[in-house]
């Protein structure tokens, strides 16, 4: 059965699969990120969010990700490898999953998605009507992989105060989509860690103001200059479902050969 859920925010997948959201003009890689304005009681939200984006993304990334999905009727684990370059190219390869899906690949080229289906031995382009459907049965949709949006470009943001979460001091940031932005949310509330500028919780509200989805970030670890959340939990508000993503190994700003993202290669199942 198809899983009908509101289209999930592009921010999510940009984060989870490290598809670069904001590195539009950031080639060569930024040698030094803007400092995290830890001491400011109420920092400039643009500065803060740019730092958040640069922390979570890079010009390119390669990583190994574990994803575990729980629903009322089943739960399962997937292990995958992810390559991403800029905001237009990404490839995910399922390393471990069910017997029929190991070796499955999803290729993103600009706004289009292709799947390599190992059992069928064929590549299928995803029709636009299926973008809202779940990706690999998780709480991410295909749309999350395809569309890019940016915390700094697509939202008006405001720091409204400070709060404590999990023993950490955090800023409370409220983001509302700009009128021209194609964002499915009515509002996003974020808690951003003061010490590391890593987000701790994102709450996504629909256009009626109802909480639609919560993302919790945990296990902050250091990769190069970055502080990076090692674990992200996504929960749709109206169900018992849950998707947990763990970053086992991430490398940022590495060089990836262009043919990694070639359709021809995908068709050969390599």
């Amino acid at each position: 059965m198809t899983i009908d859920r509101p289209l999930l925010a592009p921010i999510t997948m940009g984060l989870v699969l490290s598809l670069s959201l904001s590195a539009r003009a950031a080639d060569p890689p930024p040698p030094k990120p803007p400092a995290c304005p830890s001491d400011a009681a109420s920092p400039d939200p643009m500065v803060l969010l740019r730092r958040v984006e640069q922390t979570l993304e890079g010009t390119s990334s390669v990583g190994t990700i574990s994803m575990s999905i729980k629903t009322e009727s089943w739960s399962r684990k997937l292990k995958m490898k992810v390559w991403a370059k800029g905001e237009d190219y990404a490839l995910v390869r399922i390393l471990e999953g069910g017997p029929r899906e190991t070796g499955m690949m999803t290729l993103k080229r600009e706004k289009q998605l292709w799947n390599y289906l190992p059992q069928a031995g064929r590549v299928m382009k995803l029709p636009s009507g299926m973008l809202g459907d779940s990706w690999m049965g998780s709480d991410f949709t295909n749309d999350d992989l395809v569309n890019g949006s940016s915390l700094t470009d697509d939202f008006e943001s405001k720091v409204i105060g400070t709060a404590k979460h999990d023993g950490r001091d955090a800023w409370q940031v409220v983001l509302t989509p700009k009128p021209e932005a194609t964002v499915v949310w009515g509002k996003v509330e974020m808690l951003v860690d003061r010490a590391t500028c890593v987000p701790l919780i994102d709450r996504f509200f629909d256009e009626e103001g109802q909480l639609a989805r919560t993302m919790v970030f945990a296990e902050i670890k250091t990769i190069g200059w970055r502080q990076f959340p090692g674990r992200v939990t996504v929960k749709p508000a109206d169900s018992v479902r849950e998707t947990v993503v763990s970053y086992d190994d991430m490398q940022f700003d590495v060089s990836i050969p262009d043919d990694t993202f070639s359709l021809h290669r995908l068709q050969q199942g390599r």
Partner: protein, 401 residues
């Protein structure tokens, strides 16, 4: 004696009686014809529905009809089928699996419904091109005609299916197109692909589980409540639900019922008009014969007999009108025999494909009903003039000019 007298009386004004008879004949004829036609249509629709798309009864996992989900299955269809065979001798059952997926050819891809069925036991599909699915052959797929034209594939071609299996994993496989088919409705033909039950269970990782056990009873009767009650008693309704076609397609049931009651009211109005005609005729007939009736009563004819005479005259016309009407109605239905709708009927009625040909049958209950109503209306139409006639004071009546 009374009958003979009445018979003579009604032919004393031949023209008037013929006009009354014509009205009665047409009334009865129309009722028999219309009702036979519409009952033939409903009968055909329900028979198609019960033999093909829906069955008389369906067994699902509890709650499936209201909220179909891939995981909600009848886990032991064999046990269910055995229970049904035991409780309803002659009933035939077949299993189906229903899921969703994405079908792709070299040209196109499209979201589809995936239906797994037992091709040797299920009459859902009509092959348009290619050959029917074979339960013993794996890796074959039949495409609804709409899906085939969307994917631009023909029998012999190849289709890839992707979907989510019941365990959450991504199901994907490649199939050879065996046939392009028409299914139970236009909508189904446009959106559904068909696999053998085993292939579909395998694709969706369902094991032995199925979503529907479809039961066909060895009857064309519309009232199946007795069969349903015994079958339901044999099933474990804590984990299963057993629904009749009328529960599965309540709109269709409601439409048939409302059309039936609409026709009933038309019949009543038709016969009311005819009844008023009879009333008029009989009033005139007794009025003309006031003197004669007065003389009869003066000579010792009892009032009851006069009443009987007039009522008999009226009923005689009713009976005659009914016989002629039945001959007319039955004759027309038999002469038409079978209606061909051709291209007109490629549509659905509330999700059910309408048949393209409709053999017409005489509905016995329509004939009986028309007979009873004809006699009833002529009885009522004749009763009032008869009462009036029988109460005439003989002395005055004989002087009536």
């Amino acid at each position: 004696m009374l009958l003979k007298l009445a018979w003579r009386n009604i032919w004393r004004n031949t023209r008037r009686t013929l006009i009354t008879l014509a009205a009665l004949t047409l009334g009865c004829g129309v009722i028999i014809g219309m009702q036979s036609y519409s009952e033939s249509a409903y009968g055909r629709l329900i028979r198609d529905l019960t033999t093909q798309m829906v069955g008389h009864l369906q067994v699902h996992g509890k709650g499936w009809q209201a909220e179909p989900s891939l995981e909600n299955v009848v886990e032991n269809p064999r046990i269910v089928e055995a229970a049904i065979a035991g409780s309803a001798p002659g009933a035939v059952s077949t299993r189906r699996v229903i899921g969703a997926g994405l079908a792709g050819s070299a040209q196109n891809s499209s979201g589809v419904m995936v239906l797994g069925l037992q091709p040797d036991r299920d009459d859902l599909l009509t092959v348009v091109r290619g050959e029917a699915l074979d339960p013993a052959v794996h890796g074959r797929i039949a495409l609804g005609s709409g899906v085939a034209s969307m994917l631009e594939v023909e029998p012999g071609g190849e289709v890839v299916l992707v979907g989510q299996a019941a365990d959450g994993s991504v199901a994907n496989d490649r199939y050879t197109v065996a046939a392009v088919v028409e299914a139970g409705s236009v909508e189904m033909s446009a959106t559904t692909v068909f696999l053998t039950l085993a292939d579909a269970q395998d694709f969706f990782s369902l094991g032995e589980g199925v979503h529907q056990v479809i039961v066909r009873l060895p009857t064309d009767d519309e009232d199946i409540s007795d069969h349903v009650a015994t079958m339901r008693a044999a099933l474990d309704l804590h984990t299963l639900e057993a629904l009749t076609w009328a529960q599965i397609l309540p709109e269709l049931r409601a439409t048939i019922d409302s059309k039936r009651s609409g026709l009933l009211w038309i019949n009543i109005v038709v016969l009311l008009i005819v009844g008023l005609g009879v009333l008029n005729t009989m009033t005139m007939a007794t009025f003309e014969r006031t003197r004669e009736l007065g003389v009869m009563m003066s000579l010792g004819t009892r009032r009851g007999r006069v009443l009987g005479l007039v009522v008999t005259e009226s009923l005689l016309q009713g009976a005659l009108g009914f016989v002629l009407g039945a001959v007319l109605g039955i004759g027309v239905i038999l002469a038409i025999g079978e209606l061909h709708f051709g291209a007109v009927s490629t549509g659905d009625m509330l999700g059910v494909r309408l048949p393209s040909t409709l053999p017409l049958h005489i509905k016995g209950s329509a004939v009986v009903g028309a007979g009873i109503t004809a006699l009833f209306t002529t009885l009522l139409g004749g009763l009032w003039p008869a009462l009036r006639a029988s109460r005439l004071p003989p002395a005055e009546a004989t002087r009536y000019v």
